[in-house]
Structure formats: structure tokens, C-alpha cells
Symmetry: C2
Amino acid sequence: MNRQQQKLQTRQKIVDAAFTLLDENKSFTAISLREVAREAGIAPTSFYRHFADINELGLTLVDESGLALRQLMRKARQRIQKGGSVIAISVHTFMEFITKNRNVFRLLLREHTGTSAEFRAAVMREIQYFTEELSDYVESHLQLPADIAHMQAEAMVRLVFSAGADALDSDPTAVETIANRLIIQLRFIQLGAFSYHQRDKS
Amino acid sequence: MNRQQQKLQTRQKIVDAAFTLLDENKSFTAISLREVAREAGIAPTSFYRHFADINELGLTLVDESGLALRQLMRKARQRIQKGGSVIAISVHTFMEFITKNRNVFRLLLREHTGTSAEFRAAVMREIQYFTEELSDYVESHLQLPADIAHMQAEAMVRLVFSAGADALDSDPTAVETIANRLIIQLRFIQLGAFSYHQRDKS
DNA sequence: AGTTTCAGCGTACAACTGTACGCTTAATTT
DNA sequence: AAATTAAGCGTACAGTTGTACGCTGAAACT
């Protein structure tokens, strides 16, 4: 087999192993190089052929997670084209994602408040993509000035991530409850930003 | 000296040592019993005279942190008696607290999304106190039905904690900016919940 | 065909971990 | 005064960690 392909394949095995280890009771900072190697089926020292550091692996995972989320956003936007509530569809898409990719979302959540400033910054960057895309949407579709649109988008993303954290610990029926409450709370923000804007103009 | 007092004193040394170690780069799950003992100035094995487990220490820290936050709430409510914006005063009190007790808030943040289900539950309980007290306030002062008041309070607390997380990584001037944005975003929710309620009635 | 490259392995080591066990010593009880 | 209690210590041990070093064997190149 091609050597390059082979290398990429084991690299993927490492990434997959890391995501597998990132379960309910293990944060990325807490997993050891040796555990990852064991799970990936390689020698501990072979790890270094792919990543200089365990941190480099971590940042890769955050990047991949962010990418997955952005792809999700696109999918949600496509669904909205066909009509329906923007908020409700977005929330359901999001909840579907985190229940199907628990460890991906867990990684983002944990490293967002984690112990590595580098990781925190990486996650915040991914969240900012989220916020800015939503901000653009709000600005153009709801006809709000940029600053208000941005605050609205930021608040919404905060709520969504926070509710997502709760959803991770809940069974499917509880997730549905959380989603429904979240939808109403997002409407609060939407309505509130609008009336704040109206009041400001007069 | 009294033996009981002496014991309580070293116990406090352990607690203080743990909070000291809980700095920017160290989560509670990541600190070792030996580190705590070293910082507290006792032998590693002496730790067990005070806590059965390192987890027992952790839950103690969460409890103490929650207590500190509840005391803060009372202080904020007292200040509000004298008049002024409820939201603005609460936000400023909160920000003052987390900048003066960084590690206390850090503990709550990290364990909220941490790897121990027990710790997560403990933190969520503390957050719920927050939410419920605020919910009662909203219900009685803004004349909203209980369910809407609760959703409003929950959303507000989510926003406050999320903004608090950002504030931890920021310098004083950035904290001020975050606080001001947060105040507006909380107004969004307040206004939004009100018009959601109005609309619902008709 | 001969040479070079390099992914992966095995061994090795020092550092650190939690905690079992028994001792000391001073406060407390009898 | 004698006996008991218990906070704190020191030693010890097995387990895990990251990573330095040199080797192997097959793919890639000349």
C-alpha cells in the first residue's frame, strides 16, 4: 500500500481513538498519550510520528469538531429554505447533532472552560464563527443594526451551548423538553432585541 | 491548643491549598492528593484524616463556592433596595465577585462541564438555587406567570454564567465591555418575555 | 539493483501517583 | 498518674506517565 495513505490511515486511527476515549468520564486533558496509543493499536512512541505533542492532537480534534458543526449549520440553513421556523429548525438540528456526536460536543464544552488557554482560545474561535454567521443572518433577515444583531446572536449562541450542555446529561424525552424551552427562550431574545431597537429609535 | 480546633485548622489549610492550586492551568480533577498535601504543608497520608477521598474534598469546595455565591446574591439584593436598575446592579456585583474570587468561579465553571457526574450534579444544584431565587423575584416583581418567569430566569442565569466565563480570561476594561453587553442582553430577555406574555394573552 | 527514507516498535528510565502499614507524640479521658 | 485516643509522619510499593534512543523492514527513489 501507498506509504502516504498508510500514514494518514493511522493518523485517523489516532484521532478516532481520542474521540472514543473522550467519553462521559474523561476529558482530553486527562487522557494520556499512552491511552490514545493503546486504543489506536500503536506503540506509544509511534505517536510522535504524527503529532509533536498531545496538544497538537487536541487542537486537531477541536478543529475537526468545529468543522463538523459548521457543516451542520449549512444543513440547517438548507432546511430553512423550504420554510418553517428558523429558530425551531435550528434548535432541533443542533440537538440532533449533539445527541449523535456526543463526544464531539463534549470536547468543545470541556475545552471551552478547560485548563489550557490555547484550547480555550481555539474553542472560542469556533463559537465565534457560529455567532458571526448567525449575526449576519439576523442583520439581513430581521433588519436590525449590526451592533444589536450581534448582541442578539451572541446571546442566542450562549443559550444554545448552555442548553446543549444540559442535554448531554439527559435522556431523549428530557432533551425534547430542553429543546422546547430553549426555543421559547430564543424567541424572548428575538422579541426583546426587536423591542429594544424600536424603543431606541423613538 | 484544643485538638478539635487544630483539626479544623488543618482541614481549612487543605481547602485553602486546593483553591490556591485551582489556578488558570489546573482543574480540580487534575490536581493530585500529593500536590494538595504539599501546598497545605502536611504529609500525603495525613490527608485521609480529613477526607476519605479527593472527591470528598472536591464536593466540599463546590459547596463552599455555592455558599459564597448565595451570600453575594443577598448582598446584591440589599443594594437594589436603595433603588437603581436591578439588572445592572446584579451584573456588576457578579462581575466584581468573579474577578475577586477567580478560582471559586473557575471551579464551578469547570466542574459544571467536568468529567465527574457527581460534580456536575453538585454544580447544577448550585446554579438551580440561583435560577429559582431569580425566578421568584421575576414572578413577583414583573407580574409574570410562573412558567414564563422560570424560563426568563433560566435564560438569564445561562447568559450570566456564560459571560462570566469570558470575563475570567479578560482584563478589567474588557470585563466592563462584557458587563455592558450582558446588561443589554438581559434586557432583551426581560423585554422579550414580557411581550411573549402579552402576545400569548390575546 | 542498490540506496535512502521513515513509520512503527521495544527497551529503558526517572518522575509521579494513590495508599497500606506502623510509629510517634501530644491532647484527652479515666 | 495511668491509659486511651487520634492527628500527623515516614517508609514502602506497585502502577502509570512522557519520552530518549536505537533498531527493523518495507516503501520510495536513483
